[in-house]
Amino acid sequence: MEKRPRITLMLCGGTGCIAGGSLKVKEAFEKELAQKGLTDEINIVLTGCNGFCAEGPIGIVYPDDIFYEKLTPDDAKIIVQEHFIKGRPVERLMYKEPVKKHAIPVMNEIPFFKHQVLRALRNKGLIDPERIEDYIARDGYMAAAKALLEMTPEEIIREVKNSGLRGRGGAGFPTGLKWELCSKVKSELKFILCNGDEGDPGAFMDRSIMEGDPHSVLEGMIIAGKAIGATKGYIYVRAEYPLAVKRLQIAIEQAREKGLLGEDILGSGYSLDIEIYQGAGAFVCGEETALMRSIEGKRGMPRPRPPFPVYKGLWDKPSVLNNVETFANVPPIILHGAEWFRSLGTEKSPGTKVFALTGAINNVGLIEVPMGIPLRTIIYDIGGGIKKGRKFKAVQLGGPSGGCIPEHLLDTPVTYEDIVQTGAIVGSGGMVVMDDLNCMVSVAKFFLEFTTDESCGKCTPCRIGTKVMLDILTDITEGRGKDGDIETLEDLAKDIIAASLCGLGQTAPNPVLTTIKYFRDEYESHIYEKWCKAGVCRSLVTFYIDPSTCTGCGACARVCPQKAISGERKKPHSIDQSLCIKCRQCYETCKFNSVKTGPRDMFKKEEPAEPLEEEVKR
């Protein structure tokens, strides 16, 4: 009988941890185990992204569920020696709670993980994504088998409809309804498509699923394919995700080998094959109709709707496009039922959502939480609060299509219906936390720069309108803002939203609108006082030291690259404005809040008035 390993070490092989050196860590472990002759007893698996990216490279020891973080190749020897051989987990390498600094050895007791519920990410960190056997061992393809062999298309659709699953790509359209509309259209050819373009800057929810659990996507597509009567499937993956492409390709080949893709799957009479199509670097190709044009080999430009893609989609045939995370949610719904899916979340937003938590937060990483969880819980309990003890300012949801939510709305539950009331959107799951060091006008400008760059150029309001908005914002951040600009931005934004052809143009003004709504004072201080209070817009800030609170510790002077700060020890320091390049290092370093920002013209002398003509004559 084959000897089963007594310990399994799951090393995170997500892109973040690999960048942090997890492959070298793996090598070190393998070497050490070989030396000690333990290769049969101890199994090392490279899994997909664990999610706690701030603490990588990560390794988890099963069956104890011990969590090790920030691993280096040298740590391999110690862990093998102390933990695997002597049975004593190594405390030094465990997660430390931030305040009292005591170790939390078990992963699911760490706050970052405690509040999460894994459904789309159900196999996170537990499987080798390049082994279909691992996926099957965790109930993989059981839902597809049930759907293909025991359910009719109508029954599948009913289950998904009743679950209330909404598209996880950002629009939140009821998935079951989309499938139902397409299933009713008669056509010899129908397509099931997966949107793996994930263009939002900083978002990596879909990447983690495609890299870490590619079969979950395939299984979701098979079930959807049967429901709508699809004859062929495509997964559109952005070319900037080569590992995702590779893992999906391996998964497809393995599925074909096992008869889970191709002709007459599992003897059910339903046939489906899936192909990968790579994007070519255009954000707009994540838009449904532009994506379809891209697969057709055409320039990726959206089409007006109606007619909708469920009627006229890829090659003008009925097509359903769903997001990666949406597909990943489908198999458990089939296996456990609509009611089970609804046991979490709210009436209108059931289930869970994956978020990429980034920005000025302590616990940066990938999380999955039940819908309805308050924002505050995500930011403070899961996220561990603001980095370096700074003050929370806003959280941006939904990337360049989304909006900023200020402090006073942090109790808003994260649901489609509640978030949209604030002016933002849940979006695809990107969540960027901002502190007082962020300038909200700059943030809006950043997102608008992105959308203007990515605009396909087909329709006038987006092509020219977003550029005009960007020009106004640029003027505001560079000191050329004038009275009326805010009103113009708001008015123009409304028309761009109303007239744009696709979601890119229709949502590009959102970051601007929400930052105006909640941080209008920042716009006003940029325009009227020529003052960027966060000190980000370099032409609109003067850094100075408040002598009444300065302790003369000299920390600021030490970090100043221009040696512009002078002062005696323990005496108030001052900044030479002629040397200051506004790099903001002193402002970020000062622990006493003595370095302050002031308006651009704070120290400008009054210009002598032009002499009157009469005076000159005299």
Binding site: A282, V284, R299, M301, R303, P304, R305, P306, P307, T452, D453, E454, S455, C456, G457, K458, C459, T460, P461, C462, R463, I464, G465, K467, V468, D471, T488, L492, D495, I496, A498, A499, S500, L501, Q506
Partner: protein, 826 residues
């Protein structure tokens, strides 16, 4: 029909129609910039957005299908505001070029701004400074004015099937340009220019020549090919400044090709004749009309009395009007008393009609313009329809886009071949064998309705004949794989609603009479009506010339006797034709013409033939005279005198009237009486004018006929290849070379040679080579490509200076006129 309401008005629309179409059809205007009736809705300009009750967002009316009970509002405050902003944004980066922009006065952006736009802009912007592109022939581009409506790109790619322009770059930086911003090189049809709503695309000949309001616009029929397209010409102070197509105007629905759009400046060639010329002391000298006509009259009388009427002949013109040709044949038959009259249609059209008569008993069968769009399978045999009849050819492309099978049998890669669902690259001239082979396969496999067909006359004899064309033999002759022939045969047999088209002119030398007979045979076998055989007449009035009776009706001499048989004639009257440079074996023709006692040439320019004449008469050209064209569809269409006479030039029919009068005959009083006489003649022959279309009720007598492959000669020596002649898209017959504009696009008879042949013969691209046939040799410039197969070279016949016709031998009956040539270094 769907019922909906727009702005409170109840209207009905066809199921599948869009809101915009429904509105426009019912007289409700919704502004739009990027929509074109020929294209799929684009939805890019955003000007057509409307409010639809029950919908949260504004709806793109050019793309949204109508739904029962829909309630649409086009002028709500929300719509008006959004539309104003869109215009404000368009105008922001649109340069204030109106004072120097040729589009001013007919610019859609101007009109929209005037009607819907803001009067002030909230924004300022730095104007775009893209260089203006004047580096390509005919088409000028000013990217700064472009509003990115996409019409040019979409029209060129989807409608014309070329795709020379595309949107490059993204977002604000997006612009319309040829690939890699190189010089635009395309068909130069100019469809993009007419479609452009602003001054971003223009025609170089028109640049800065006139303001719109100084020109008068008229409709006239194009003088070039048999399509009979209507062009809208703009005239200023008696000169044509430009020609355009207009939506819903003409059989062409506003589509034009490069000839119709840019070929009108042949009128202004310096070579135009302005005065009669008489040969005195060996030289042609100007003379007044009465002297010239008297000269002719006297000489003709003498020759008639000395040698008899049958020593005198005439050649008519496929480009002159019905009235011109009718008068010529009246002159010959009544004044001279001879049946010796013929035309260039002898080489092509006559042959096709002969085949038609033998196969069906019909002597008249015009083309049906819309037919290709009604078919599921179009078979084109060795004919470049997209070059000979470009606008009608668009119907073939459109049919294919709608899902029809487009099967092209052609050795050369034409535009039609490139767009075909099946391109059968057969050896030149072997179309007969292919048709016989397909027919035989269908017969042997029983894929036809035997009961229906076997009773037709000649069936058993014919089936016996085609037995020889089994798959193996057919494959051997045509060079096509057996599997291909089988696949195509099965497809043709199983797809209902078929059409077979062949060009009927002689400019393409790859067909014989047997091609037409074999096509008719196949149609009959398939149970299709004979009128599914489409034989487009080549030039603007080929059909009109034929109906006028410009051909021997009794025992008169044909072109072959008149021009090629030494001593056949003593006098020849040539109207609107240039046999020396157009017809095969030009040297022989020249020799025979030189031996005439009297050669009269009546033309618009001093042609090579005219140079040999004793008398040259200056004729009025198209648009300088009234007249009638009957195009390939049998449609009778008018040309009108819109321009002043050039010098003393006179309409052809009038010259003949005056000459006849001097000789004591009245053959036609004025243009109306001539027209009336023509109509009477046709009626007497059984033709009926239905609306504007001539029809002829005839008794169908279908008959299967033997069609065989007869080739003159084959290439044998290593430096020998076939010479394939034909058309290039930018030219038509031998008239267009006079147009400087068309010349700027394509000016030379380039010899297209296959890459392998070039390698074997050690010949390089773009160099001069010597081309020799049994009849003579010429020098031509090469273009090495894979558009022609090995063993085949192609050259167009449009350019007199190339003297390509001197290489061609006069074909004998039934032979495919393919010429064998030797190519050697120049």
């Amino acid at each position: 029909m769907i019922n909906l309401k727009i702005n409170g008005k109840e209207i009905q629309a066809k199921d599948g129609s869009t809101i915009l179409k429904a509105a426009l059809d019912n007289g409700i205007y919704i502004p739009h910039l990027c929509w074109d009736r020929r294209l799929e809705p684009y939805g890019g300009c955003r000007l057509c957005i409307v409010e639809v009750e029950g919908q949260r967002r504004l709806i793109t009316s050019c793309a949204a299908p109508v739904e029962e009970g829909m309630v649409v509002w086009t002028e709500t405050p929300k719509v008006v505001k959004a539309r104003k902003t869109v215009l404000e944004l368009l105008l922001l980066y649109h340069p204030l070029d109106c004072p120097i922009c040729d589009k001013a006065g007919e610019c859609e952006l101007q009109d929209l701004a005037f009607k819907y736009g803001p009067t002030e802009s909230r924004f300022t912007a730095k104007r775009k400074r893209e260089p203006e592109r004047l580096d390509s022939p005919i088409v000028e581009r000013n990217p700064n004015r472009c509003v990115l409506c996409g019409k040019c790109v979409n029209l060129c790619r989807d409608h014309q099937g070329v795709g020379a322009l595309a949107i490059i770059g993204r977002g604000f930086k997006a612009k319309i340009s040829p690939a890699f911003e190189e010089t635009l090189d395309c068909e130069f049809c100019g469809q993009c220019i007419d479609a452009c709503p602003v001054g971003a695309l223009g025609a170089k000949p028109y640049r800065h020549r006139s303001r719109v309001w100084y020109m008068d616009e008229y409709q006239i029929i194009c003088p070039y090919c048999g399509c009979g397209c209507t062009t809208n010409i703009s005239v200023r102070e008696g000169k044509i400044i430009r020609a355009r197509g207009k939506e819903a105007v003409g059989i062409n629905d506003g589509n034009l090709c490069s000839k119709g759009r840019f070929g009108f400046d042949f009128l202004y060639s310096e070579k135009r004749l302005t005065t009669p010329l008489i040969r005195k002391e060996g030289e042609l000298r100007p003379a007044p009309w009465d002297e010239a006509l008297r000269f002719i009259a006297e000489r003709l009388e003498i020759i008639k009395n000395t040698y008899g009427p049958s020593s005198i002949g005439a050649i008519g013109s496929q480009r002159c009007t019905v009235e011109d040709n009718f008068m010529l044949q009246r002159f010959m038959r009544e004044v001279i008393g001879t049946d010796n009259i013929d035309s260039g249609a002898r080489f092509g059209f006559a042959r096709a009609l002969e085949a038609l008569m033998e196969s069906s008993g019909l002597d008249y069968m015009p083309v049906d313009w819309q037919k290709p769009l009604e078919k599921s399978l179009l078979l084109v045999i060795e004919s470049d329809i997209t070059a000979t009849h470009p606008v009608w050819g668009l119907n073939f492309l459109q049919a294919k886009r709608r899902g029809a099978y487009l099967i092209t049998a052609d050795s050369r890669q034409t535009k039609l071949a490139r767009h075909s669902t099946h391109w059968l690259r057969l050896k030149p001239g072997t179309g007969v064998a292919l048709l016989n082979g397909i027919a035989n396969y269908i017969i042997e496999n029983g894929l036809f309705d035997k009961d229906r067909v076997s009773g037709i006359k000649g069936f058993s004899e014919w089936t016996n004949h085609v037995k020889r064309f089994n798959l193996k033999e057919t494959s051997q002759i045509t060079g096509l794989p057996e599997t291909t022939i089988e696949e195509v045969a099965r497809l043709i047999a199983s797809t209902p609603k078929r059409l077979i088209a062949l060009s009927s002119g002689a400019s393409e030398n790859n067909k014989s009479k047997d091609h037409y007979i074999a096509s008719a045979n196949l149609l009959m076998l398939l149970g299709e009506e004979i009128d599914n055989l489409q034989l487009p007449a080549e030039f603007s009035n080929t059909l009109g010339l034929w109906l006028s009776g410009v051909r021997p009706l009794k025992d008169g001499k044909t072109l072959k006797d008149m021009l090629y048989k030494e001593g056949s004639l003593k006098a020849l009257y040539i109207m609107g034709e240039d046999p020396v440079t157009v017809f095969p074996d030009g040297s022989t023709i020249e020799r025979n013409l030189k031996n005439l006692e009297l050669l009269i040439v009546q033309d618009i320019v001093l042609t090579e033939t005219a140079r040999l004449a004793h008398v040259v008469l200056p004729a009025s050209a198209w648009a300088e005279k009234d007249g009638t064209f009957i195009g390939m569809t049998g449609l009778e269409q008018k040309i009108t005198k819109l321009l002043p006479d050039q010098g003393d030039s006179t309409p052809d029919w009038k010259i003949l009237r005056n000459l006849a009068r001097i000789m004591g005959y009245e053959i036609g009083r004025d243009i109306n009486s001539v027209k009336e006489d023509f109509k009477k003649k046709l009626s007497a022959e059984g033709y009926i004018l239905e609306g504007s279309r001539w029809k002829k009720p005839q008794r169908l007598e279908p008959s299967f006929r033997i069609a065989d492959l007869k080739v003159k000669a084959r290439p044998e020596k290593p430096q020998e290849v076939y010479l394939l002649t034909g058309n290039v898209l930018q030219h038509s017959g031998v008239l267009s070379y006079l147009s400087k504009t068309l010349d700027s696009a394509v000016a030379d008879a380039v010899l297209t040679i296959n890459e392998e042949d070039a390698k074997r013969l050690n010949i390089k691209d773009d160099t001069f080579v010597k081309v020799t046939s049994p009849k003579g040799s010429v020098y031509l410039k090469t273009r090495v490509t894979d558009e022609v197969p090995e063993g085949v070279a192609f050259a167009p016949l449009h350019f007199p200076h190339a003297r390509l016709n001197t290489l061609l031998t006069l074909p004998s009956d039934g032979e495919i006129p393919l010429e064998v040539i030797e190519i050697s270094k120049g």
